[in-house]
């Protein structure tokens, strides 16, 4: 028996290594030390083991080549004990290993390796290896040595820290692969030993301590590089032709995926390592071929028999899945393949995990089934569900342009979300599909949030219960049916916000995660990110944080736990920076442009609505009336109040108050008790919905933990009652799945309205008047329950929902509508013509009849409608759907038109248009833009009906054209001569910069989140 210690400038511990060898109770043990660094360690060796041989490892690179040096040293021993220089063997280790090798007729035997300083922790107990050559530990990082691995078992590979190998086998195999400097050489050696028909055995009763500090000793962290490189080398060398042909594409695909993921998470070094590993192997294909030939000479076992010993899947993928499903962080999943039972779904064998997976599968199945017609037929442009531009490039161009045509036009800050929608549309090559997926995805995001809400409780049953309850709460169907994007965003965001607020409160059991300032910061950023993500789509949704916090504060006080109140207040306030960052530059624009509550209220003025308190309580706020069975939610919601103890009762009180506060605010809004308007009712009810779901989860927790402490009595009856109520709720909700579109109508107003194409007759605006819920864009309150908005062209898109930096000359629309409504003019069309309005549409219903019944109509007030009918120059379009009144402005002139000089003579004030109507000019710049280019004759003037703002310029031959004010609000350009002119708008550089920051913000935060997740893993 020869112990071969490969030493490379070892530290003080080396003495202990040598001493452990000298103290072995195995009688025939001699020692050879390979001085890999030629550092002259001979005296240190002979000081401990006088008869030890020191082999000069000059010219070797890495552990493998140094260890192979023993092959040239004239070995006479039957066994070699290959050791690192940082291991210390138990005195009986060698004896045990030799005995096991003889007893099992093993080729290679390895001991149980424990940590150097903490020998109670097992470091290695052999490796499982997948077919890609990637090893998996058979123990976890912190597995306590409880003699659980003290038996003997076949393993695929052993670490090279300490392994006993028959000398003849080592010679026949040619030793380690000299190309593998560090890491992976042991897997390769054992793999080849298996091919040669030798058994590889793990003998747990033999113990060795191991420092395993290569990185700190070399000062180079090339672990990822060398592991990947050598695993690939082992795969290339040791597989047969057929299996390699099958596996190589898979390995390449996995490598590419890994590179993409690493790049996405800004782990560029790791991505580089993967790429370099492949390049390294490709550049050494000649060596690979040579080693494959060498392997052929030693092969004694069929390739299939060897691969049968390997893990079928991918260790890397499995490890990732295990980390996600177990929720473990900070450590490798224990006994990766052992626990997995060599199957991906092995981790599901615990009952609660299986429950969670099954629940998710059912829930997602329900969502997909309920959305089937939306997915197949698309989402009609109803309510807030505005269309997206036809192409991704249109979307991105408009986002970058920074100008909104809404109302009279104004600089706008398009939210960064448009960039991502555009990119997704580019990938999917269908903006309509993006829109449909976005609607469905919001539901799924909300459901995911509801599942994560109670993760801190550690009860999968509670999580599953909350998930199912959130699915059954009829808020999502009501939001979809009402075309309420705000409601859907609230549904998606509220669970995440509530979760972070609960963490911020530090109330049990939400005390996990990092403590101290870093922990607080993480919560604030997470909360701000949740609010910001919601604000990316519907800015007013960020206000849910305040609503949820108010409920939690009230609940904390009611529960007699006021200590969490300051934390909640602080979290609400300190989440703002992250929110602002994510919603940049819109948030800054809103602040800079001054307080504008109308933006939050979205055209609502605080007037009373129609929903009763009962309808609010059961979320009957849109679409079809939900079944009365919704009242049964009261049963599970009451359970934690009646049964709960400790933190379960306290959290139940908090959740109840979240619901009560949301209901109260919704009631106040619906009864017109507030002097100002509030956002969409669906959005206001989102906190109540998530609180209901949370209480259902708490009901399960209370039954799990608290029922046992109750005497036998009525409390026990709550279990079957709750189960029955839940069953009835589930059955009662089946109806909402029937139409496959969550109650959303199948057609929208655009199918009923006929607009001329602007490119044919000239650019125009459309003035929309109706209930704020019916308008596709943010409305301006005009009268109780009535708002207006103006959009450009024949379609309304998401771009029209951009947040304008200011309101531009929206006041002119308001004054004209008021003139008409008050009966002060019969020529409203002439005034509207001054604003480029060609069509006026009064919306009486959310969607055309018969999709929306007359009973659900909210007609424009008769006075205003009558006044519109009284206008002498507004022609009612007969034959349109009864849900709308559509007028064509017979006095309309194109927004951008060519005129003779002096065309506006006598028009000193905008109202002069009433008595001095504009003549129709020649349409100009009617295509997509800005910019627009056109050829014009000489001596003409160009009217451009936009809010005048810096950045607009008409240029001829690259020179700006002089301009003057016209119609008392807009501009006229007078090119000096005929020729080609270009009308363009360029936003200032700082606005573009802000847009870039806004676009990058979600990416940066997502990156940080992913990185943190991966770091924890």
């Amino acid at each position: 028996m020869l112990a071969v210690v490969v030493a490379h400038e070892p530290g003080d511990w080396f003495v202990e290594t040598l001493e452990s060898l000298s103290l072995q109770d195995y009688e025939y043990l001699s020692t050879a030390v390979v001085d890999a660094a030629s550092s002259g360690i001979g005296p240190r060796v002979s000081e401990v083991i006088a008869d030890a041989v020191v082999i000069d490892g000059t010219g070797t690179t890495g552990f493998s080549q140094a260890a192979n040096a023993v092959l040239d040293a004239g070995i006479e021993a039957d066994f070699l004990l290959v050791c690192h220089d940082d291991v210390a063997l138990a005195p009986d280790a060698v004896t045990t290993l030799v005995a096991e090798a003889l007893r099992s007729n093993a080729g290679i035997v390895g001991p149980k390796i424990v940590q150097w300083d903490r020998p109670e922790i097992i470091q290695h107990a052999g490796y499982d290896v997948d077919r890609f050559g990637v090893p998996a530990e058979r123990v976890g990082a912190e597995d306590l040595d409880q003699e659980q691995h003290d038996g003997v078992s076949d393993v695929f590979a052993l670490p090279s820290a300490v392994l006993l190998i028959r000398t003849d086998l080592f010679v026949r195999l040619g030793g380690f692969d000299g190309g593998m400097t560090f890491r992976g050489e042991d897997v390769d050696l054992c793999w080849r030993a298996q091919m040669a028909g030798a058994r590889v055995m793990f003998a747990g009763s033999a113990v060795a301590r191991h420092r395993e500090a290569l990185v700190s000793r070399t000062g180079v962290d090339d672990a990822k590089l060398t592991e990947t490189r050598h695993a690939l080398r082992a795969m290339l060398v040791n597989h047969g032709r057929i299996s390699l042909t099958l596996l190589l594409p898979v390995a390449l695909l996995m490598a590419l995926s890994e590179v993409v993921l690493d790049v996405f998470t800004a782990r560029f070094g790791r991505a580089r390592d993967v790429i370099r590993a492949w390049i390294w192997n490709i550049s050494r294909l000649d060596v690979v071929a040579q080693r494959r030939q060498a392997n052929a000479s030693v092969r004694r076992v069929r390739q299939a028999d060897v691969t049968a010993l390997q893990y079928f899947g991918s260790v890397r993928v499995l490890a990732s899945l295990r980390r996600q499903s177990s929720g473990q962080s900070g450590s490798e999943p224990s006994g990766l393949l052992g626990a997995a039972g060599r199957g991906v779904f092995g981790g599901l064998r615990t009952g609660t995990t299986r429950l969670a997976w099954i629940t998710w599968i059912v829930v997602l199945g329900v969502v997909l089934f309920g959305s089937r017609r939306l997915l197949s037929g698309g989402v009609p442009a109803v309510g807030d569900f505005v269309a997206l531009p036809e192409t991704a490039s249109d979307l991105l161009k408009a986002w970058w342009g920074g100008w909104s045509e809404r109302n009279a036009g104004a600089p706008s800050s398009n939210l960064g979300i448009l960039v991502y929608l555009g990119l997704l549309g580019w990938v999917l090559d269908s903006m309509a599909l993006v829109r449909t997926l976005a609607v469905v995805a919001l539901i799924v995001v909300g459901l995911a949030g509801s599942y994560r809400l109670l993760a801190a409780t550690g009860s999968r049953r509670a999580q599953a219960s909350a998930l199912i309850a959130y699915l059954l709460v009829p808020l999502a169907p009501a939001s979809v049916a009402s075309g309420s994007l705000a409601g859907l965003v609230g549904y998606a965001a509220a669970p995440w916000m509530l979760k972070e607020l609960l963490r911020a409160s530090r109330a049990a059991p939400f005390r996990q995660g990092p403590q101290g300032l870093r922990g607080h910061l993480y919560v604030y950023v997470s909360l701000g990110a949740a609010a910001g993500a919601a604000a990316l789509v519907v800015p007013a949704a960020a206000g849910l944080v305040a609503l949820l916090a108010a409920g939690l504060v009230a609940g904390s006080l009611l529960a007699g736990r006021p200590e969490g109140v300051p934390r909640l207040v602080a979290a609400t306030g300190l989440s703002v920076p992250a929110l602002v960052f994510l919603a940049f530059p819109t948030a800054v624009d809103l602040v800079a442009s001054g307080p504008d509550w109308g933006f939050v209220a979205d055209g609502r003025d605080g007037s009373a609505g129609e929903a009763s308190f009962g309808e609010i309580l059961r979320f009957a706020v849109g679409g079809g009336d939900p079944p009365s069975l919704v009242w049964l939610f009261a049963v599970p919601m009451a359970v934690p109040l009646l049964l709960g103890r400790g933190w379960r009762l306290e959290q139940s009180v908090r959740l109840w108050m979240v619901a009560v506060v949301a209901w109260a605010v919704a009631l106040a809004a619906e009864r017109g008790m507030l002097p100002f308007g509030l956002p969409d009712l669906h959005l206001l009810l989102a906190p109540a919905a998530v609180a209901v779901a949370g209480l259902c989860g708490m009901a399960v927790l209370s039954i799990e933990h608290d029922l046992r402490f109750s005497h036998f009595g009525w409390r026990q009856a709550l279990v079957p009652v709750t189960a029955l109520a839940s069953l009835l709720l589930a059955v009662g909700s089946i109806g909402s799945l029937e139409d496959g579109r969550w109650g959303l109508v199948a057609s929208d107003h655009h199918a009923a309205l006929r607009f001329e194409a602007p490119v044919l007759e000239g650019a125009y605006r459309v003035l929309w008047i109706g209930s704020p819920e019916f308008l596709a864009v943010e409305g301006h309150s005009f009268a109780p329950g009535v708002a207006w908005a103006a959009t450009g062209g024949d379609s309304v898109t998401l771009l029209d929902r951009a947040v304008p930096f200011d309101q531009g000359r929206a006041d002119l629309f308001e004054s004209v509508i008021e003139e008409i409504e008050q009966g002060r003019t019969a020529r409203g069309g002439r005034l509207l013509a001054g604003l480029g309005v060609r069509y006026v549409v009064l919306l009486h219903r959310l969607a055309p009849a018969p999709f929306v019944a007359a009973a659900d109509a909210r007609p424009v007030p008769a006075g205003l409608a009558g006044a519109m009918h009284d206008q002498l120059d507004l022609e009612l379009v007969e034959g349109t759907n009864s849900a709308v009144d559509m007028f064509v402005n017979t006095a309309w002139v194109p927004m951008r038109a060519l005129y003779s000089p002096g065309f506006d003579e006598g028009i000193e004030d905008f109202t002069d248009l009433e008595g001095r109507p504009l003549a129709t000019g020649a349409s100009l710049f009617s295509g997509d833009g800005p910019p627009w280019t056109a050829r014009i004759p000489g001596g003409a003037e160009i009217l451009v009906s936009h809010t005048p703002r810096p950045g607009w310029e008409l240029s001829a031959d690259g020179e700006p054209v002089p301009r003057r004010e016209a119609l008392s609000w807009t501009r006229v350009y007078r090119p000096p001569s005929s020729g080609e002119v270009q009308l363009s708008y360029s936003a200032p550089w700082w606005r573009h910069g802000g847009q870039l920051v806004g676009a990058a913000a979600p990416f940066v935060l997502a990156l940080a989140w992913l990185r943190r997740r991966m770091d924890r893993s």
Binding site: S607, L617, L649, W663, R671, G823, L872, G915
Partner: protein, 495 residues
């Protein structure tokens, strides 16, 4: 823990209960003010559009003349659109006219559309002190006169016409003017003492007038009412009644149709006398409800009390009340009439439409006296009152000498039940009379005492009043309400 549980349950239950209780209370009314739309001619906007449904061309039965009066001290420019009607293909004509301060302009619209059988006019005037009247000169004699309309509507009622073409040489024409750029379609139901008839789907082309000669539809009717329902679009409506017979007298009268219905109407100009026959027409446009109506008489003399005249108007019917046959009115002189629909058989009063026609003959059948000028007039009721009125007036030079004779009058009614109205009457900007009118009383001022020739009377009052006028020309009479130039308020809301 136990006490906290109880406290929490009680608090949550209490809050939910509070929500239920809050929701039980009546919801606040919408902040939308009730949009009262008066039937009055009320040019109260900055830019006012006048609709003169018009009359015929020069060769027709009643040639239209439009008179525009400027009551302000500034010159006014008005835009006139002449809308043709009839079989000839004509395009509307549009032009502008200037009116001097305190001046008048007469327009012969048929000059702009010479081939048109019928002609209407739309006048767009900036400022509230322009008053536009239509004057119809009947070919068989007589002149009718009334202010043009300042609104369009989809429902009109014409209460009292007659078509006895053979004996009384009566012709009854309803004029419909569509000022909009899209076609209007109307259904007209004619309810006569001889039966019912209807015209369905009558098309009024865009920016055209249509004359409905009821005489051709319902013949030999002593009374006929027209209920006009515009099923598509909106129109302005007026009517022309021409007669030359022993009972109906000789003359032409015109008045705006009544838009919609109301619970309370004021007819400020009424009288009974030996040579005068005033008839109040009350129409019930409802198809289901019976209207119980009182006609309250407000004599000019506050010392006289007259019991109201009670009538019942069945759905879709018109009731004519011949005041000359009411013995209780004998000798009370001039008076005003209040038409009040009562909440009797139904929970709410049934809205009605009211108007009054007056026929004055030159010879008293009983030989008791003789009027100076014969003629017939028609006046629509007033459902609103205003603090400021403009009244175009004319006093023939010969009447100036008569002073208190039958020279026409300005009638001011204070519809308030409690408040006194302090009224200033100015002519061409100069105050000529100040007076107080007690609650529920009326005051009749002779036009001859206010001015001469053609002048514009301005009435300003401290409280909403109703103003009517009665003009007596050299050969004809006319009566109408004034033109309210301050925002009208509903009479039934005045306390």
């Amino acid at each position: 823990m136990g006490s906290m549980r109880v406290l929490a349950i009680v608090a949550i239950a209490g809050l939910l209960l509070a929500g239920v209780l809050v929701d039980l209370a009546d919801r606040p009314q919408s902040d939308v003010e009730y949009q009262y739309t008066s039937a009055l001619v009320a040019p109260t906007a900055v830019v006012n559009t006048w609709f003169c449904p018009g009359g015929s061309g020069p060769s027709g039965i009643a040639e239209l003349t439009v008179q525009m009066a400027n009551g302000s001290d500034e010159p006014r420019t008005v835009t006139v659109s002449v809308l043709p009607g009839g079989s000839a293909v004509q395009e509307p004509a549009m032009f502008q006219m200037d009116i001097e301060p305190r001046g008048r302009a007469l327009l012969q619209p048929s000059d702009a559309v010479p081939g048109a059988d019928w002609v209407g006019v739309m006048v767009e005037a900036k400022g509230s002190d322009v008053v536009v009247e239509q004057i119809l000169t009947a070919s068989q004699g007589g002149v009718g006169r009334s202010p043009c309309l300042t609104r369009v509507a989809d429902s009109w009622v014409v209460s009292n016409g007659a078509t006895r073409s053979a004996v009384e040489r009566e012709r009854f024409v309803v004029m419909l003017l569509n000022p909009f750029p899209d076609v209007a379609v109307a259904d007209i139901e004619l309810v006569a003492d001889v039966g019912r008839d209807s015209i369905d789907g009558l098309v009024i082309p865009a920016q055209r007038v249509v004359a409905v000669d009821v005489t051709d539809e319902v013949t030999v009717a002593a009374t006929v009412a027209a209920f006009i329902n515009v099923v598509s679009g909106r129109v302005a409506a007026s009517w022309i009644q021409i007669s030359d017979g022993p009972v109906a007298g000789r003359g032409a009268r015109t008045a705006p149709a009544v838009a919609g219905a109301a619970d309370l109407w004021h007819l400020p100009v009424a009288a009974v006398g030996a040579s005068r026959r005033d008839v109040v027409a009350v129409s019930n446009p409802s198809t289901t409800d019976v209207a119980e109506v009182d006609l309250e008489i407000i004599p000019e003399d506050p010392g006289i009390q007259v019991n109201p005249i009670e009538i019942t108007v069945r759905p879709g019917r018109t009731v004519l009340v011949d005041l000359s046959e009411q013995g209780r009115l004998d000798g009370i002189g001039h008076f005003s009439v209040v038409v009040r629909s009562l909440a009797a058989r139904s929970l709410d009063a049934v809205p009605v439409a009211a108007s009054i026609t007056s026929v004055t003959s030159t010879a008293d059948p009983a030989g008791a006296g003789e009027a100076d000028v014969a003629g017939s007039t028609a006046t629509s009721g007033a459902d609103g009152a205003s603090r400021r009125w403009l009244v175009p007036a004319e006093v023939p030079a010969s009447d100036r000498d008569i002073e208190l004779g039958d020279a026409g009058a300005l009638v001011i009614v204070n519809p308030s039940a409690a408040g006194i109205a302090e009224v200033d009457v100015s002519v061409d900007g100069e105050l000529v009379r100040s007076t107080e009118i007690g609650p529920g009383r009326s005051r009749r001022l002779s036009l001859a005492s206010l001015g001469s020739d053609r002048f514009l009377v301005q009435v300003e009052s401290s409280a909403p009043v109703v103003v009517g006028r009665e003009l007596v020309g050299l050969t004809s009479r006319s009566a109408s309400l004034g033109v309210a130039t301050d925002e009208p308020v509903p009479i039934d809301g005045i306390r």
